[in-house]
């Protein structure tokens, strides 16, 4: 059992004119291993504190927040690795609903804009659309995204252009479906990202890679989308002369 110091961002738009930081001294029990455990202790002290949480094991992505200046999931952030006072803020770049809870509407609008689902116009088979193990392996490093928003909200390109730049999470998902052997909309997906600000606002700052709690690499996926653009241009040029050939996608 020990005491830890926390400084937590507080803002209730119904009551507060502007946000402020509130300090808490919290008694941490030996069983409290993760930051979320400490937050639940704080919630016991002050039930007005608002935060999102659900699975408490890094699967749902609900408790994504800014921890000592870096985005992460409270439920898988070890208390023993945090420098005191632990400064907790909501994820940057999104409107704050209350305390550590942000409005993720823009994030999910961007995510939906890349059509994050399979597009296949063939008649459905009796069971399921099968993939070879090799084709399935191409989805590794892509499908694991839990949409916590840590990457997108740590990206300066998203902060400046949230309504234009899709953001790392959305682009990772765009590439996830581009590289799916069952998908038939590769050309449309690439066209969808061709507007100057949707894909190309990524300046390889790589905050997304640094903060991803699932250790994914959106920056590499964005580079792969650009590779596909080159392949698409090669195909368009070849199509003008001869017949069409398919684009080969390699695993990350």
């Amino acid at each position: 059992m020990k005491k830890m110091k926390f400084s937590v961002y507080r803002f209730n738009p119904d009551v507060d004119k502007k946000p402020y930081m509130q300090d808490y001294d919290v008694v941490i029990e030996d069983s409290d291993q993760m930051l979320l455990d400490a937050l639940i202790r704080i919630k016991d002290l002050d039930e007005t504190l608002s935060l999102r949480k659900s699975c408490r094991e890094g699967v749902c992505g609900s408790d994504s927040m800014n921890i000592n200046g870096k985005n992460g999931l409270a439920c898988i952030t070890k208390l023993s690795e945090l420098v005191e006072p632990v400064v907790l803020r909501p994820m940057p770049g999104l409107p704050v609903i209350r305390d550590l809870v942000v409005d993720m509407t823009q994030f999910f609008e961007n995510y939906n804009s890349v059509k994050p689902y399979l597009v296949n116009n063939d008649p459905p088979p009796a069971t399921e659309r099968l993939q070879s193990p090799e084709d399935r392996a191409k989805l590794d490093g892509l499908y694991e995204c839990i949409l916590c928003g840590a990457c997108t909200t740590s990206c300066p390109s998203f902060w400046w252009n949230p309504d234009k730049f899709v953001g790392p999470a959305g682009l990772l998902q765009a590439y996830r479906f581009m590289s799916d052997s069952r998908d038939q909309a590769l050309d449309d997906r690439l066209e969808n990202l061709e507007a100057p600000d949707r894909l190309y606002r990524c300046h390889n700052i790589m905050n997304c890679v640094d903060v991803c709690p699932k250790k994914l690499n959106p920056s590499l996926a964005i580079a792969k989308i650009k590779d596909l653009k080159f392949e698409q241009a090669r195909e368009h040029k070849a199509a003008k002369k001869t017949t069409k050939k398919s684009i080969e996608i390699k695993a990350l």
């Binding site: 400046w160 252009n161 061709e194 507007a195 190309y200 606002r201 650009k226 080159f230 241009a233």
Partner: protein, 115 residues
């Protein structure tokens, strides 16, 4: 294929690729320039004139300046789009940048042509 990507069909890729290609031109020129400085070691005004006198040096320098103009335009345009939210102010600043870049390009062209 690169030419295909520089067409209007790919507006996003065109700007992105153009920035990298112009960067490459500037990098190659810079290395060449430094090597030539070490080789000729120009000391005074006359030797600098001779430094830029060969026709290929003028062409390379002009190519560098054109690349710099395009590269600067794309970069500053992005910076202004990011940091100047007011559309009128941003448009005014973009126009100033365009005017300045044209003036600098015309000036550089005149310099290299009259050397």
């Amino acid at each position: 294929m690169v030419i295909e990507l520089l067409t209007r069909r790919y507006p996003g890729m065109r700007a992105w690729l153009m920035q990298r290609l112009t960067g490459l031109v500037m990098a190659i020129y810079s290395v060449m320039l430094i090597a030539r400085v070490f080789d000729l070691k120009p000391q005074d005004y006359q030797s600098w004139l001779m430094f830029f006198e060969p026709w290929w040096m003028k062409v390379a320098s002009l190519l560098f300046w054109i690349s710099l103009t395009i590269h600067a335009w794309l970069g500053i345009r992005d910076v202004l789009k990011d940091y100047v939210p007011n559309p009128q102010v941003r448009m005014m600043m973009l126009n100033v940048v365009v005017a300045l870049l044209w003036v600098y390009l015309a000036w550089a062209t005149w310099l290299f042509c009259t050397l």
